[in-house]
Symmetry: C2
Subunit: 359 residues, 2 copies
Amino acid sequence: MSEAGKPIGELGERALLRHLRSRIPAGEGVVLGVGDDAAAVMTGPLTLLTSDVLVEHTHFKLEWAPPRLLGRKALSINISDVAAMGGIARQALVCLCLRPEITLDFVDALYDGLLERAAETGVSIVGGNLASTNGPIVVDITVLGHGDHLLTRTGASPGDRIVVTGQLGAAATGLRLLSEGARLDSDGTLVATGLWTESSRQPIEHCLRAQLDPAPPWALARLLAERQLVHAAMDLSDGLSGDLLTLCEASEVAAAIDLAALPVDPHAASLTRARGGDALGLALHGGEDYQLLLAVAPDALAEVSEAAAMWEIPLADVGEIMAGAPALAQRGSDGLRPLNPRSHDHFAPSLGMGMTPQP
Amino acid sequence: MSEAGKPIGELGERALLRHLRSRIPAGEGVVLGVGDDAAAVMTGPLTLLTSDVLVEHTHFKLEWAPPRLLGRKALSINISDVAAMGGIARQALVCLCLRPEITLDFVDALYDGLLERAAETGVSIVGGNLASTNGPIVVDITVLGHGDHLLTRTGASPGDRIVVTGQLGAAATGLRLLSEGARLDSDGTLVATGLWTESSRQPIEHCLRAQLDPAPPWALARLLAERQLVHAAMDLSDGLSGDLLTLCEASEVAAAIDLAALPVDPHAASLTRARGGDALGLALHGGEDYQLLLAVAPDALAEVSEAAAMWEIPLADVGEIMAGAPALAQRGSDGLRPLNPRSHDHFAPSLGMGMTPQP
């Protein structure tokens, strides 16, 4: 058996730590990286910190997610949180809970993705830990960032426009495609179309990539924070309806969404149409798009659009913040109606997989 | 069913988050705490960061650890890492992976312990996350600290004395006592002596507390760092033999331990003698004491002792750092012999529980 195929239980914790440590480059501002009781980094005066976890069976399946992409996503979703606060991600701690029979090449591929994504985003991996489990794999990452002008969830005011970046629904569509047998390889190339024919390759690949390798618009978030162009911001992880309600609760306002204005991802829309469905629900409730949800004063909209254009990021004005107790409404062809968020509850036992439910 | 006995799967993620958020007090230096995409805290210029995880079945069992004590320990072991770098712990992120059938009163008791320990140590809980799992409970905590004079593992020099704080072997004895049915209640009071008679209450309670509610000597570590009294330091988590080898590897030196000088915990010793065993192995290889392992120049020993006396912490001079490739030797009545560390390897499948092995 090659070293790479060796179970980490045979390799041993000390050797695995030594191996991973040798792969992690030194980073700027890192006084002391992996290998001591704690890392020491230059920060300040204001430090952002966040942690987000991927749990096997709850957030991913080994058959669905090539480990390199899992590593990329685990870091990306944390960078998304720092970006949604207007910060620049700087350092990461990586905590892995692994079964002893997991092979070294799995851990190495996971680290390939982590290190690549870290290099792309200027993040230094400075520590973390390895623990053994007899259950689901856990990838828990903490990211520290530098912030100065914060983009919080609390500043939305009645009259603000609700703006989202990018297009919505592709990640949720990707999840459904995975359950139907579609697969990417570790390079992000489509290797199986599952229940679908070859003619749908392009939209399938697009949606799988959205699900397995999200690319949050962090540079735009940074620009919006620096120029103080928005009243409130958060990232879209649980789905627009649930996240908008969260933003309303934080800001103590209500919100109305114009259904016709939702930026439905065109690939998600074409695949959903082919099933005889409507992708509007995906754009409204589907999670994991990791785009930005913004509350913008009407007179700042033009400048926000200009900033997004610099990064070639689409923007959509999807509704309005209103005075009132936290609640959502939808504006359709039949007027204004209450809207119940249908976003993901990790603890709801009815969800089975516990993953983002399909609309 | 009372609210407290309700499974969190019925309560729902949003309600659970809201509930926990309402329990977490605002902290000094915390610009933005729990409830946004990321927390924002005042730091700098040098920030220490560490994360350590407790995994059910690997590091604890629900039958053995009252949740309040589990919360205290999860935070304490991270504070221990920051202290062993000479820092002051300031902020914590708490990541919990929980099964949906876990009750609210379990989560609340865990938070009782976390919040108590945080208040005792001046740590603010500023964020984290909740995730659902169908497997072992995971309590993963990240702690940020403030540092200026770092205590690293890399500075040990030939001729330095090897010094440990406190007494060793009680935590490993406590683990064995748990496996024999001895139990503490959530207040840390002995409620079952297991295989032992009532006459052993005092040593049993002492060893169980050492295992379930460790108290790292962080104030002393801070003082040693400020006065720059030691060449190298780390905390004793995996056991003296394994941790000393780690320190030797980091400092590129060898070490010899004087077996007769080991500060064997007297309660652990009395219980081990009652079994017909020798507690020396517990002090040498048993893990989780969370005391400090120090390399001290001989001419600084007196001042280190004085500092420890201020905090009423025992110190023991247990051996010498020597030139040479990283390796350990033991000095006994029969002279100097090689010493193989027998500390814990989380990934070794032979360990069964995966917990610290009993000597």
